[in-house]
Symmetry: C2
Subunit: 366 residues, 2 copies
């Protein structure tokens, strides 16, 4: 068990922002909110998956919505907690712990707050090992946790429980539709599962990965070292391009921030790059050649301090580094690629893993 | 207690179609479906509100969606029943009876089927004494039954329970949004209430009214009498215009069939009439003068046989009679007019009741 204090929160938010690959909700807004909860006396306890009893109930937690909305619409602050209560009351269970749906972006932090509000710890794991735009893309569902029940709550006091869905994809569509009606963001509680199911389906120790990644970058900044190198060392990533954003097209539509950006700079694959995103960065191309695709992580960070540049903050002229990080092996199985591979996003592309970097990604040792 | 057999079903469907004021779902499609259920051995029992024990659970039942969709998209046939199961399972209750949300159109018949599927009787009452387009417009909510929980189920197997809504109007917005995503129609179970609450809030014996209205029209047809006069006699209505439809503008938008029609003919208020509808007919005007408005019933029936012409079937050239029927007094209280009066639909008009007709409406004696 470890605890997230104000200092750890800084590292966690930074690392989660990088792992968010553009999405997961604005990490700064989520951090300020979590920091406020800490100042008001909240306790953010994180337990290892091994500490969760096999029979205990664990519930997935996080926000749903477009990152462009997450930075403009203030939240009430208990959306995830009220979704959890709706789900737990429906099932008549008392969850022993929460687990983040995704470790990327603000969605690494919101479950900390919800867990504290519920008086339970958060499990050091998640359902994506990064961020993805759609609910069916959690490993919980990919590896067999049922899609229903799941619950949603908004900032106004409305809540609903999805009691039957033909598939996790149907759950996504219904929840997304309600999210749009609810104003573009909401809190979710989903994938209620036992400790045994959690251990079989989750991506383990990703909160630790985010924390250590953020801490490495902060240490490099303090030492006037190279924050980009710190990202690579702590993530097993590789630089795909260093340069400048020359164009951004971004629309908030059907509940997502969709678009693409162009970059110019230097890198191993050429001097021009184009990246498509749906909340998260999906495919990076040099010329017509894909150089990185989902489920591998395509992270955009500022050149000078490796601060993550999330989808809603992309703008012309920013000097950035594009870093590719190999995904966790649980995202690269045939079953997972059906849900989170390039074809699941409509691309006529097979997944080709990133070439190995000098440092292995942190999950290989977990 | 009375039973709906194939013969009664004909009368009930006809009367409900007239009381639907254009909406409530296509009565023919609902009748064919209910008839099939009868042929397969279903038993449709109807009990008087007085027969419901004060402590027993009663659940409101009906379809949600645009009438234009109800005539084009086939239903699975157990949408209302599965919504009921979702609601009853959520609450851990066993309903003793169902009650129609609205007695108008197909929504008088769908709850018969759902009740038979659940093995319980249907209460001879409803929440509108006609049809209205939106969920908050049931007397159950107007007179204090809470908006949540309520459940929705579609034709594919998806279902959700709304566990918290700021108001019945919020419930309507959330349910309508899901209905659109579900394909434009769905089944609802809502306003779970005790027998005592039912008696305090429902419009009583409206299934009997619909049955008797339909039977009177059918008798007039058989006797080569005047079916329009039969409608007036059985409903306390008055003819507002007899003539021909000269224009129809109708769009299915935001989950509703919206538009207006023009008529030319003869009547006590002039020769030209315009009627606005949102699923149901809302306001009838002669010149700029409103001659009938919600909550009074504006019913369009064929001139020659008094067959109801529902919103989705309106077309240029039809010879029709427009009949105004005074609403039940429970719809004309200040509390009810806030929800179902002309201003609730965006009109800058006060409700002015129809002038009394020679025959009083049937509800005055119930």
């Amino acid at each position: 068990m470890w605890r997230v204090d104000a200092e750890t929160l800084e590292s966690l938010a930074l690392g989660a922002g990088i792992l968010g690959t553009g999405g997961g909700g604005n990490p700064y807004v989520a951090k300020v909110w979590a920091r406020g909860e800490l100042d008001r006396g909240a306790r953010f306890d994180v337990i290892d998956p091994a500490e969760v009893p096999a029979e205990a109930w664990v519930v997935g937690s996080g926000g749903i919505g477009a990152p462009t909305v997450s930075v403009e619409k203030l939240r009430r602050g208990d959306e995830e907690f009220r979704a959890l209560r709706a789900l737990a009351d429906h099932l008549r269970i008392e969850p022993a712990a929460l687990v983040p749906m995704e470790v990327g972006g603000g969605n690494a932090l919101r479950p900390l707050v919800a867990a504290a509000q519920a008086g339970v710890p958060l499990v050091d794991a998640d359902g994506m090992g990064r961020a993805f735009p759609e609910l069916q893309m959690v490993t919980f569902f990919i590896y067999g946790v049922p899609a229903c029940p799941a619950a949603i709550a908004d900032d106004k006091g409305n809540a609903a429980v999805f009691t039957a869905a033909l598939s996790p994809r149907h759950l996504e569509r219904l929840a997304r539709t309600l999210t749009i009606e609810m104003g573009g963001t909401a809190g979710m509680a989903m994938a209620p599962m036992t400790g045994a199911q959690l251990k079989r389906t989750a991506i383990p120790r990703t909160l630790s990965v985010a924390r250590d990644l953020g801490a490495a970058v902060r240490a490099a900044r303090r030492a006037h070292g190279d924050p980009i190198q710190a990202v690579l060392g702590a993530s097993g990533g590789q630089v795909l391009l260093v340069g400048k954003i020359t164009d951004v097209e971004r629309r908030t539509t059907t509940g997502f921030a969709r678009g693409h950006l162009r970059l110019q700079g230097t890198g191993p694959f050429g001097s021009l790059m184009e990246i498509d995103f749906q909340n998260e960065n999906l495919v990076a191309r040099c010329g017509s050649q894909p150089v990185a695709t989902v489920p591998d992580l395509i992270c955009i960070v500022a050149q000078h301090d490796a601060e993550p540049v999330t989808t809603e903050l992309l703008r012309y002229g920013q000097r950035v580094a594009v870093i590719g990080i190999p995904c966790h092996p649980r995202l690269a199985t045939p079953a997972a690629l059906e849900v989170v591979g390039p074809r699941a996003f409509g691309y006529d592309l097979d997944y080709r893993p990133l070439a190995p970097a000098p440092t292995p990604p942190p999950w290989t040792s977990l």
